[in-house]
Symmetry: C2
Subunit: 472 residues, 2 copies
């Protein structure tokens, strides 16, 4: 029985892998392969010859900071006008993974996802007073009937008006935690640094409605916890600092900042962790921690999240009320919470990358694995087939990686040249069919970007290693 | 051995279900439950008392057609201004499922997903001549520097300009099949019918670049096949008709239409399937099929997809070229392809629903299963706990349904009232703890919307039935 099982175990993977290849090929309609080939990806063909794609020459393509340079050169974004970018396929893949991660954390705090229009009627903004207050940061337009709109940079007015339409809202339905992941628009006076400060960008914005101030503060702290979990999952060093409430308003506010020299925000941190604030929040004289007296350390940060306790600032304007347990109409206590989705992508690249090589939080890398087969005409050429089988076997054995592997089929180039490109693009794992692919059994060279390790592994070893890769 | 196995089999589900409940509860941070409760969903509290939510009273909330009425009443959409809607949580769930299905079919034909800005510079549209040609359908605006933009209703100009920046494009990289799923904007003179004709909507648009006319026609037919697979997967009856190319241009065009009385397009169909066209394409005298001579049947349709063979109309304007095998620069042959994502949602509801009950293509129903526990204080009340266990066990045994089940905890209402609501919202499966929940073993009443069947099943029977549900 034991022997039979072992024999079957030996057989099954090979059989099922072959069947899987066929099934996949048929489904993809790609002939015999169905593999993702680097030569077919819509990205600059050759990263060595920088500038050849011509994108750096476009307005917004000049390299004002590391992430902008690397993302334009690596074919992640392409300038489409001042402060506007095309998100190219690899960037969309990273973004969708990030959104998946954010969705999970928002659901975990009871978030319900909706989607509000970008066209935001002027009357909502006039009611809150922000039609004038926001000044030239609002993109404004009129429709064919002369009715005024702005393109929503944020949606406090819209969501409060929406909740106010539910005139029979009961305290039992609260808290309401509504969020969306949509494009936002802000007519920045000086868009710059690529996706770090652009005019059209993706944001996750949540709006919460509670029955009491106490409940609203509980919600506030729950959402802040969720934000921390997002940055922890990404492996990004961040600080949560006290912040100004700005044009959004409210009484309490925090920013989530990634410390970085390029950051536009100036922060002070207590070295023992008792206090952290945006300098907007402290007087120039304050140089020590208000709690422990330690000297405050100045640093710069990239703002990637912002939370506001709003109270009834908007609910009172739009009359967003609910029936209390005593059946009295009361104003909902609100909070709002933003995560800069595209800004997180760029900020992560900014803080993790080296001067000329992109590094991703591994959870959201556009592709997890790059396979580099031998150069055409080399001694190891027959290793190409083994590598293709390994690619297919991995997709079969580790289904969550099935769409997450690319095969660098530019076999007219040396392995070294392609490895250099792979290094620049920051695949967490690169698998090379080097000299030892001719060993029996064949041995593959596996580069792990995050640990800096190089391993020599058999087919089974590669699959075992990669079966541990987490995907969102 | 056999006996041992059987005993273990009996034990394991109970144990693993309990452990799973704990794990899930911890993960969700929702106390002991972590279940999706109907009373907590952001939707009208009571569907019986129509109009109470106040949404129908807003502009755009009046019921001009079935899908609009049902989607507003059911809390799927809420008017946000003329031709603009908030997509509420259930609609977003359906939309994300639909997008998942479309993504899969686009990837299957080699589609690479990108995302282009909504702010589309006027100079692109002036270059193609459409800045004037599109007239008042374009939403136009100027930024703080006085630079003109429109909000993209479609992206032929933008994508062709983008591909043209890759000045060293090789024939080896072709075909390029780029697509996005983004909001589009069109200043309709008469927005109406809810999501069927709105001013801000989601569209999937694909743009293809091929090395020759022959290759481009192959791409055209591949993408049409993919569109057919989308509608087939949704179980929607559709026709593919010859269509006018309109302002997009090109030489060949087809529309994908769902036959419906409310449809704004007039079609003629050959009863034997030899010919189908939008009436725009035929002369008034033509009343018989050009192929077989059968009399043409007039019908109306809702346009849900549109394909265009463009040739070099746009590539010649923006100089989107590639190097041929002979190393000569040639213009790319283009096609463009649209699927109305939010329109498909509404059109599906329009054609599948009854007068007062929503019916979804089961693949994209917002939730697959609704659990209705007994009324509080009824004889069957103790069945509530059994139902909660069934909910949890299903999530454990059929993980793809874990986030797809809701528990109607409004136990102050009779089962009958809640079943009526569930029927109106169109859950594919409704599971009721009726009288027979007190049997030993307990028996649940399972309503299958799509087959109209009512089944009486044990816990194991329910799980077996639902393990066959397909999710995208």
């Amino acid at each position: 029985m034991e022997a039979l099982l072992r024999r079957r175990r030996g057989l099954v993977p090979a059989l099922s892998a072959a069947a899987g290849r066929l099934r996949r090929a048929r489904r993809l309609g790609h002939g015999a392969a169905g593999r993702l080939l680097v030569s077919r990806l819509f990205q600059p063909l050759s990263l060595q010859e920088g500038g050849e794609a011509g994108w750096e020459a476009r307005p917004g393509g000049e390299a004002a900071c590391r992430s902008q340079k690397l993302m334009v050169q690596g074919g992640l974004i392409c300038p489409a006008g001042p402060g506007c970018y095309h998100y190219l396929p690899s960037a969309v893949r990273a973004m969708e993974k990030l959104v998946g991660l954010i969705d999970r954390e928002m659901r975990a705090v009871g978030g319900q996802k909706l989607s509000m229009p970008s066209l935001s009627p002027a009357e909502l903004w006039r009611a809150s007073g922000r039609w004038d207050q926001m000044g030239r940061e609002l993109f404004r337009l009129a429709d064919r009937h002369g009715k005024d709109y702005c393109l929503g940079p944020t949606h406090e007015e819209a969501v409060t008006d929406l909740v106010a339409t539910q005139t029979n809202l009961s305290y039992r339905q609260l808290p309401l935690r509504l969020y969306q992941v949509t494009r936002k628009f802000r007519d920045e006076p000086k868009p710059r640094f690529g996706l770090l400060r652009s005019r059209e960008f993706y944001m996750k914005d949540m709006y919460t409605f509670d029955a009491s101030e106490e409940a609203a503060r509980r919600t506030y702290s729950l959402v802040c916890d969720a934000y921390r979990r997002v940055f922890e999952a990404l492996g990004l060093r961040f600080v949560q600092v006290q912040a100004d409430t700005g044009s959004i308003g409210g009484t309490v506010s925090h920013e989530f900042q990634l410390p970085a020299d390029i950051g536009e925000d100036r922060l002070v941190l207590c070295p023992t962790g008792h206090f952290a604030a945006n300098v907007e929040m402290i007087s120039a004289e304050q140089t020590t921690c208000p709690t422990c007296g330690e000297p405050l350390t100045p640093t710069r940060g990239i703002e990637v999240g912002h939370t506001f306790y709003l109270g009834t600032k908007y609910s009172s304007v739009f009359n967003a009320t609910f029936y209390s347990a005593e059946n009295k109409l009361q104003l909902a206590e609100m909070g709002c919470y933003g995560l800069g989705v595209t800004r997180i992508l760029a900020a992560a690249v900014e803080v993790l990358s080296t001067e000329d090589s992109i590094r991703w939080p591994s959870l959201i890398a556009p592709y997890q694995v790059c396979f580099i087969p031998p150069k055409k005409g080399s001694k190891e050429e027959k290793g190409a087939v083994l590598m293709e089988h390994l690619y297919d076997d991995l997709a079969e054995a580790v289904p969550q990686l099935a769409g997450d592997s690319v095969l660098d089929d530019r076999t007219q180039l040396t392995i070294g040249k392609r490895l250099k490109d792979a290094n620049k693009l920051g695949y967490p794992y690169v698998i090379i069919a080097g000299k030892r692919v001719c060993d029996d059994p064949p041995v593959f060279e596996v580069w792990s970007q995050n640990t800096g390790e190089v391993m020599f592994l058999t087919r089974e070893g590669v699959i075992e290693l990669l079966s541990k890769v987490r995907v969102p």
